[in-house]
């Protein structure tokens, strides 16, 4: 079973990396970019039937730091994976 974990900085947490990339996009002449936030995508292959609570536990214990980060768990069906 393929799983994607999206880890994002919480709203309100300053993202200097995103800000720098935003400036770089503007420097390249791209217009209309309002904001850039940089997160992390973790793709995992896990045993079929791995529970959402087990995945949540992985996120809370290691994959995300919940002081500053939110996470979203996306389970992919075999066809789309």
């Amino acid at each position: 079973m393929k799983v994607r974990i999206h880890v994002r900085l919480k709203p309100g947490v300053l993202d200097p990396q995103g800000r720098a990339v935003h400036h770089a996009l503007e420097g390249l002449g791209f217009e209309g970019v309002e904001d850039v936030r940089i997160g992390r995508l973790i793709e995992m292959d896990v045993a079929q039937g791995t529970s959402l609570s087990a995945l949540t536990n992985m996120c809370e214990k290691l994959l995300a730091n919940t002081v500053i980060e939110d996470f979203a768990i996306e389970t992919l069906s075999e066809e789309t994976a």
């Binding site: 947490v13 300053l14 200097p16 290691l62 730091n65 002081v67 500053i68």
Partner: protein
């Protein structure tokens, strides 16, 4: 009674030898060097140091992997018994990621690696690490980090202030840290995490610009307060 100390080495630690040399210089005894994969610490420890470096290449987040290594369970248990624990730089990041200290160290606000001597202002003077300092006293200690931008939510910051758990502040903004926090104490004051490197300020150099001995005083404070306790 000999003062028993240990220095933990993670894969990617690079200040572990400096830390061991600093501790031996002050205590007269070489610390036991402990590998991250060990499950147990030596018995009867008085002081544990987590050194600077880039454990696990800062994979995932700085300190995140090291915080889950076997030895950290033993360090957490020792801290729970009141053994003094000092985490410097990457060691501070490991302490935050392990939950022994609140908050997290984020990328420096200016996005740059910072390597220079900074001025710290002493805030707490009641912990074993800071008892020999005067409140408001300034110290000069080197920093060398990319992820030293201390962040915690507003309630945590208020609690840290109210409980006198901010050990040091940068005298002027350095890396974007909330409230210029450079070092944080645990609720019982026995665990200190700090980004500046006291083990790199152990002797007065021939010229002041080359470094001073302010870091040494932190180690002397620990020995003084724990041996006489």
């Amino acid at each position: 009674m000999a003062f028993k100390t240990a220095v933990i080495t993670f894969p990617g630690s690079n200040c572990d030898r400096d830390m061991a040399v600093a501790i031996e210089a002050v205590t007269g005894n070489a610390p036991t060097r402990v590998w991250h994969g060990d499950a147990d610490l030596p018995a009867g420890l008085d002081f544990i140091a987590l050194p600077g470096g880039f454990s696990y290449g800062d994979y995932l987040r700085a300190g995140a992997m090291a915080a889950k290594s076997p030895i950290m369970r033993a360090v957490a248990a020792a801290a729970g018994r009141g053994v003094a624990v000092l985490g410097v730089c990457n060691g501070f990041q490991v302490l935050c990621e392990s939950g022994l200290l609140p908050g997290v160290l984020m990328r420096n606000a200016g996005q740059r690696f910072l390597c220079r001597t900074v001025e710290l202002t002493v805030v707490n003077t009641s912990s074993p690490f800071t008892s020999g300092f005067a409140r408001g006293e300034t110290l000069r200690v080197p920093i060398a980090h990319h992820d030293g931008n201390y962040f915690a939510d507003a309630a945590t910051l208020e609690a840290l202030e109210a409980e006198d758990r901010i050990a040091f502040r940068y005298s002027e903004p350095v890396n974007g840290s909330q409230r210029d926090i450079a070092g944080v104490l645990s609720a019982n004051g026995r665990v200190l995490g700090m980004m500046p490197h006291p083990e790199r300020a152990m002797a007065q150099a021939a010229h002041p610009s080359l470094g001073g001995a302010d870091g040494r005083r932190l180690f002397e404070n620990v020995v003084e307060s724990l041996v006489s306790a």
